[in-house]
Amino acid sequence: MATKASHPNSLSKKEAAVGGYFKAISAIVWKDLRAEFRSWELISAMLVFSLLAILIFNFALELDVKTRQSVTAGVLWATFAFAGTLGLNRSMSIEKDRGCLDGLLLAPVDRSAIYFGKFFSNLAFMLIVEAIVLPVYSVLYNTNLFHPGLIAVILLGSIGYTSVGTLLAAMSVQTRTRDVLLPILLFPVAFAVLLSAVKASGGFLNGADFAEISFPINLLIVYDIIFIAISFMLFDAVVEE
């Protein structure tokens, strides 16, 4: 019977654990980005989907100058939401396919580090896609979307959407109906994020008073905090057996 390794200095042990926690998060993000910048399969799928969605919206809504003003925010967020589920699904399927999720769970780090690693990767993918879609949309419709307020809203909205999306994707990939289940689970609970984001984005684009925009922004912040906290607490239960 082996004896337990002694730890003469408990403080340094704790520091090492904290260091290991952030190292694990950054390792997962590094690994995801590295693989993605090589294959581009996830981002390219999200991008092509986004452009197609905008194309369809263009004709379905007849986006002339007048309607565009009122629906741009809605078109953008509907596009981001649908493209987002593609990315979330794929990102989790990669972990499931070759047992890599087990590989992550075998590592001696807290399970929430795995959640945050995947959360930051997924957020990065979503922001990259948004960073490409926005200028393309600006060029196609000759509207300026580079408003710092809008960018802040997109960041807040994407954080909220990805935080709960990462948790639900980790659940949906473990089900039999994994390909179709994620949007069904995600959209009803992310409804508030999408609605607030549309309202706030539209407010910035149409130059509304800040008083009108501040409520949806506060709601986004509240949502982000609640759902990151709850995912942090529940992720353990999603991956345990």
Partner: protein
Amino acid sequence: MIVVKKLVKRFGLKTVLRGVDFAVQPGEFVALLGPNGAGKTTFLRILAALSRPTLGEVRIAGYKLPDEAAQVRARLGVVSHLSLLYNDLTAEENLRFYARMYNVENSSARIAAVLAMIGLEARRRDLVRTYSRGMQQRLAIGRAVLHDPQIMLLDEPYTGLDQDASSMLDAALKAVAAEGRTIVMTSHDLARAEELAARFDILSRGIIVASATRKQIKKNNLLSFYKQALAD
């Protein structure tokens, strides 16, 4: 090194393990044999702290599961029939990733040493996607020994390998065993098990029905021992 007492695992109402008693001494190589559905994989997943025991006691390297899972995980290396590798990363990148997850010190030197041991130095910059099944499995072993674990758990490592790949995996496993690690391997391939292991435990319907050391089984008699155990 591993002590399991009266381990029960239920999935809902279905009882997969019904009171397993199991112990492994340091440095021992134990093969866990049994038919499909006997509970081998479930048992190994509990030892690997991937699955929680329903009842019973599991101690690994002196640490209790599931309470001290983090300490146990740091001392375990796991190889399964899935590779646990990322296709779009190179061999070196896969190892670097896991070295960070395990917080391995001096990781570059360790990665180089592991690649040399599994004979994949020349192809370390190639994507895992381009590897044959056998090479992937060798890299999976490299991944598992990266943090120099005291204990190795191998779940059907030979699944899907051809003859050549199997013998290369044999060599890699023998190298791993020679470093004094404690190893538990599940298999339904008796010949492989006979070649590697020093003790054979047979799991059937969720309990260990028989156990024998290499000495107790005369040469080439594992098959009859196995059949006898299952028949009882």
